[in-house]
C-alpha cells in the first residue's frame, strides 16, 4: 500500500491516515488550480475539491484519526476561502505574485539561514541541551563572518571566522549549562543579550557610523550550467547560493550521522538518558560540549549567510528573531533533520510571500511574518501529531 496513490473512497485496505493525507492533498489542489498557471476563474471546482477534502477529514475523524481530520477540515475551509479570494482578484496581480519559480528561489534564500541554525539546534537538543541562544549564535556569525571576509579578504575565511565566533559563544553556553549546571533557558537568554552586545559593540567600535564597506568578498551563487536557462528550474534553482546547496546537503548528512552512525547513537543516548550512557562508559559531558559547540558553529554559518552571502553588509541585530524561527523549526520538525528542512522551507515560503504580497495589500503581508510562529504554536499544541523532545533535554547531568 503506497501513500502516493490517493484512494478516492475509503476502504478497509486504506487506513484513516491515508484518507487524512488525501484530504490535505485535495485541499492543496483546490486552491492551487485558481493560481497561475492554471488560473481557474471560477471557485466552483475548488469548492467541490475543498468539500471533498473536508469529507475526507470527516471520514478520518470518524476513523479515529482526529488530528489529521481536523487539519483537513481547516485546510478545506481555507482552500475554499482562498479560491474565492483569488478568483476575485485580477489575473495581473496573481501573475505578479505567484511567479512560482521566483517564489521557490526566494523560499530557498530565506530558508537557508534558518536551515543551518535549525540543524545546529537539532544537534544541541539531541544531546540534551536546550539552545535558546541560537539567535545570539547566528548574530555572532552574522557580524564576525563579514568582519572576517572584510579583514581577511575572502569569504571562505569569513565563514571560518564566523564558525569560530559562533563556536566560542556556544562554548560559553556549554560551560554554563553543562559544567555550572545553569538553567539552560536562562543561560540561552543571557547568550542572546551577550551576542547583541558583543556584535553591536565591535561593529560600532570597528566600523562606526559608516557601516561595513561595500566591496566585501561574498559567497558566490552556483550557476548550474545545464538547467540555468531552462524555464522554471533555471529560475528556481539555477542560480542559488553555494551555501543553500551546502545546507541542503547537510540535511541527509546529519540524518545519516544521527541515525546510522555509532556517534549519532551515542549523541542521542546522551540526550535521552545520560546516566545510561555514563554507565556504559560514554563521556557524557564531553559529548554534550562537542554538540553545543557544533550547534554554535552551524548557527553562526546560518548567520554568516545573511551577511556574507545574502546582503553583503551588517547592521546591528541583523538576525531579527531568525534564531527563534530556527528554534521553531527544530520543534516543528520534531528534532529530525528532514522534517526540520520541511519546516524551514515552509517558513522560508511564508517570508517569500510576505515579500510579494504587498501587491495586494501592503499591510496584510506583514502578518505573514508571524506565520512561522503561529504554525509552531499549532504544532506544539499537538494538532499536527505528538512532539516528543529528547527526554533529558534541559536537565544538567550530574556525575555521581
Amino acid at each position: 500500500m503506497s501513500a502516493g496513490t490517493i484512494a478516492a473512497a475509503p476502504s478497509r485496505a486504506v487506513s484513516a491516515k491515508h484518507v487524512g493525507i488525501a484530504g490535505v492533498a485535495l485541499a492543496a489542489i483546490a486552491w492551487f488550480i485558481t493560481l497561475p498557471p492554471f488560473l481557474v476563474r471560477t471557485p466552483v471546482p475548488s469548492v467541490i475539491l475543498g468539500l471533498a477534502a473536508m469529507l475526507a477529514g470527516a471520514l478520518a475523524l470518524q476513523a479515529g484519526e482526529t488530528r489529521l481530520g481536523w487539519v483537513d477540515l481547516v485546510l478545506g475551509t481555507l482552500a475554499i476561502a482562498g479560491a474565492f479570494a483569488s478568483s476575485k482578484s485580477g489575473v495581473g496581480h496573481l501573475k505578479t505574485v505567484f511567479v512560482w519559480s521566483a517564489l521557490v528561489a526566494a523560499m530557498l534564500r530565506y530558508a537557508t539561514p534558518l536551515l543551518f541554525a535549525a540543524l545546529g539546534g537539532i544537534i544541541c537538543e539531541r544531546s540534551g541541551v536546550i539552545n535558546i541562544g541560537l539567535e545570539g549564535m547566528m548574530l555572532m556569525g552574522c557580524y564576525f563572518g563579514i568582519f572576517g571576509a572584510d579583514v581577511l579578504g575572502s569569504w571562505v575565511l569569513g565563514l571560518v571566522v564566523a564558525a569560530v565566533a559562533g563556536g566560542l559563544l556556544a562554548l560559553v553556553h556549554a560551560v554554563f549549562s553543562i559544567h555550572l549546571r545553569a538553567n539552560q533557558v536562562v543561560s540561552g537568554t543571557g547568550i542572546n543579550f551577550l551576542a547583541l552586545g558583543i556584535t553591536g559593540y565591535f561593529f560600532t567600535a570597528h566600523y562606526g557610523p559608516n557601516g561595513t564597506p561595500t566591496k566585501i568578498s561574498t559567497v558566490p551563487n552556483v550557476k548550474l550550467p545545464l538547467i540555468q536557462h531552462v524555464g522554471f528550474f533555471g529560475q528556481a534553482i539555477g542560480d542559488a547560493n553555494l551555501m543553500t546547496w551546502l545546507g541542503l546537503a547537510l540535511v541527509p548528512a546529519l540524518a545519516l550521522f544521527l541515525f546510522r552512525t555509532r556517534w549519532g547513537l551515542r549523541l542521542r543516548a546522551v540526550g535521552e538518558k545520560p546516566r545510561a550512557a555514563d554507565t556504559v562508559g560514554l563521556p557524557v559531558l564531553r559529548i554534550r560540549y562537542l554538540a553545543v559547540i557544533a550547534s554554535g558553529m552551524f548557527a553562526a554559518l546560518g548567520g554568516a549567510y545573511l551577511s556574507v552571502a545574502f546582503v553583503g553588509s551588517f547592521t546591528p541585530n541583523m538576525t531579527e528573531g531568525k534564531g527563534f524561527i530556527a528554534l521553531a523549526a527544530v520543534i516543528f520538525g520534531r528534532w529530525r533533520p528532514g522534517l526540520a528542512l520541511v519546516a524551514t522551507l515552509l517558513f522560508g515560503f511564508s517570508e517569500a510571500m510576505a515579500d510579494r504580497l504587498p501587491t495586494f495589500s501592503g499591510t496584510l503581508a506583514t502578518l505573514f511574518q508571524a506565520l512561522p510562529y503561529v504554525l509552531t504554536l499549532v504544532a506544539v499544541a499537538g494538532l499536527i501529531g505528538a512532539s516528543r523532545p529528547p527526554a533529558a533535554s534541559g536537565i544538567p547531568y550530574v556525575k555521581e
Binding site: I132, V172, F176, S177, H179, L180, R181, A182, N183, V185, V186, S187, T189, G190, I191, N192, F193, L194, G197, I198, T199, G200, Y201, T204, A205, P209, P274, R275, P316, N317, G321, F324, L327, A328, I331, G362, T363, L364, T366, L367, Q369, A370, Y373, V374, T376, L377, V380, A381, G382, S387, R388, P389, A391, A392, G394, I395, P396, Y397, V398, E400
Partner: protein
C-alpha cells in the same frame, strides 16, 4: 518471605548514609558548590554577580582603548544617582534630578516586567513571554489612550491601564491554557507568542496599517495619547519628561505581589504547584487551572508595565520600538537578579533602569564615551548578569527535588522512579 527491611534508604539518627544536603554537596562540582553557599548568603550572590559583570565589561572597554573607570563614572553621573549625595548642589543637582527622573521612569516598567517573570517563577513556570505581553499591553494602552479623548482624566487613565493589563493577561493566558490543556511547555509557547505580538504590532502601526497615525502618514507610528490619559508628572517639569506617578503604581504592584505570594491562599497554592505539582494535586489543588491563573496575573503585570511606559512618557508607539525593545527579556534578568522576591525585583530594576539611563544618548557625556557604544555595553552587562545568575538557579532546582525546567512537550507517562536520577542527590 519478605523481610520487611526497607526498600529505601534513610536512616534516622547517626546513620551512615549521608544526609540529603551533604550528599548533595558531595555531588556538586566546586563552582556550583560555591554558588550554593553564596545563595545562603542572601544578597551576596546578586551583588557579586553584578560586580563580575561590570568587571568583565570594563575589561572589554579597556581592550577597545577606553578608560573603564572614567567610563563608568560618566555612566554613573548619567544615571542621576549622584542626586542622592548631599554634597551635590547647584546646576549639577538640577541636572542630576532630571537624570534621576529618567532612571526612575525606566525602573517603573522594569519593576513590573520583573514581577511578571518573578511571579511565574514562584509558580514553577518560566515566563519568557514578557516581551509579547508587554507589546500587547502597549498596543491596547496606546489605542485606548489615543481614542476616547472625551473622558475625564482619571477614568481614562484607569480604563487604559485596566485594558492594557487585560490585553497582557489574555496574551499570557494563551500560554497558560496551552500548557493546561495540551501540555505545551510555556517556554516554547511564550517565545512564539512574543513574535506573533511583535508582528501584530508592526502590522497595526506600519505605514498604511489600521491604527497608524493618519496625521503623520509617512511615519510608522501610532496616534498620540490624549492629554486626559497621560499620567500626572509629580517631580520635575513635564516638558522635560519628569517623573510620573507610574513609579507609585509599580511599587503598589510590588506590595500586591508580596501579599499574594505570602499571605493568601492563592499564593500558597501557587507556590505549592510551583514546587511540586503532584503534591499540589494531592492537596486538592487544580494544577492546570493554576497554570492559567498564574499566567493571567503575570501577563497583567506586563500589561501594566506597558501602560506605564505609554501613558507615562512615550505617548505613542513606533513600529521600530516594538521590534527593537528588549524589555521583556530584561524582566528575566530583573527577576533572577532579584531572586524573585518583591524587594529584590525593585533593587534589580533600579540597577538596570540606571544602567539604561546612564548609557543613553541623552545622559551619557559623549566626550568620555560614545553613547552608541555604551548602548551595546549595556547589553553585554545584561547578558553577563543573566548568565551568571543562571548558574545560581541551581539552588532552586535542588529545592524542587531535581525537576529541571525541561522543555518537555510530553508529560511523563506512568510513575517516575523513586530516585530522581539526574538530580543532584
Amino acid at each position: 518471605m519478605s523481610s520487611g527491611i526497607p526498600d529505601r534508604d534513610i536512616i534516622e539518627e547517626g546513620g551512615a548514609e549521608p544526609g540529603e544536603e551533604e550528599a548533595l554537596e558531595a555531588s556538586l562540582t566546586s563552582p556550583a558548590r560555591l554558588t550554593a553557599y553564596l545563595r545562603r548568603g542572601g544578597v551576596t550572590v546578586p551583588i557579586l554577580t553584578t560586580l563580575i559583570a561590570f568587571l568583565v565589561a570594563g575589561i572589554v572597554v579597556l581592550l577597545t582603548g577606553h578608560d573603564p573607570l572614567s567610563t563608568y563614572s560618566a555612566i554613573f553621573k548619567g544615571t542621576g544617582l549622584n542626586w542622592l549625595f548631599p554634597w551635590v548642589s547647584g546646576a549639577e543637582r538640577t541636572t542630576a534630578a532630571l537624570e534621576l527622573q529618567q532612571t526612575l521612569i525606566q525602573t517603573t516598567a522594569l519593576i513590573l516586567v520583573g514581577l511578571a517573570v518573578a511571579f511565574a517563577f514562584r509558580a514553577g513556570l518560566f515566563n519568557i513571554g514578557g516581551q509579547g505581553q508587554y507589546t500587547m499591553g502597549a498596543i491596547v494602552a496606546v489605542w485606548v489612550g489615543s481614542s476616547l479623548s472625551g473622558l475625564p482624566a482619571f477614568i481614562h487613565i484607569v480604563l487604559a491601564i485596566a485594558l492594557a493589563a487585560l490585553a497582557g493577561a489574555a496574551w499570557a493566558g494563551i500560554a497558560g491554557i496551552l500548557k493546561a490543556v495540551a501540555g505545551v511547555h510555556e517556554v516554547i509557547s511564550t517565545i512564539m507568542l512574543n513574535w506573533v505580538a511583535i508582528w501584530l504590532g508592526v502590522y497595526l502601526f506600519q505605514l498604511g496599517g489600521p491604527l497608524q497615525d493618519p496625521s503623520q502618514s509617512s511615519v510608522p507610528v501610532s496616534k498620540t495619547v490624549a492629554a486626559s490619559a497621560k499620567l500626572p508628572v509629580f517631580w520635575g517639569p513635564a516638558a522635560l519628561q519628569g517623573l510620573d506617578i507610574g513609579i507609585f503604581i509599580a511599587l503598589a504592584c510590588v506590595v500586591v505581589f508580596a501579599i499574594i505570594i505570602n499571605r493568601t491562599r492563592l499564593g500558597y497554592e501557587i507556590r505549592a504547584v510551583g514546587f511540586n505539582p503532584d503534591a499540589a494535586s494531592y492537596a486538592g489543588m487544580n494544577v492546570r487551572r493554576n497554570y492559567v491563573r498564574v499566567m493571567l496575573i503575570c501577563g497583567a503585570f506586563a500589561g501594566v508595565a506597558a501602560a506605564m511606559d505609554i501613558l507615562g512618557w512615550k505617548f505613542s508607539l513606533f513600529t521600530n520600538d516594538i521590534q527593537l525593545s528588549q524589555i521583556g527579556f530584561l524582566g528575566i534578568a530583573v527577576a533572577l537578579l532579584g531572586r524573585n522576591t518583591a524587594g529584590g525585583v525593585v533593587a534589580a530594576a533600579l540597577l538596570f533602569g540606571a544602567l539604561l539611563t546612564g548609557t543613553s544618548q541623552r545622559n551619557l557625556d559623549p566626550t568620555v564615551f560614545d553613547p552608541n557604544l555604551a548602548q551595546y555595553l549595556t547589553f553585554m552587562i545584561q547578558g553577563l548578569v543573566v548568565l551568571l545568575v543562571s548558574t545560581d538557579v541551581i539552588a532552586l532546582r535542588v529545592l524542587r527535588g531535581g525537576r529541571g525546567i525541561a522543555v518537555g512537550l510530553r508529560r511523563p507517562r506512568g510513575p517516575k522512579p523513586t530516585s530522581t536520577e539526574e538530580s543532584a542527590t
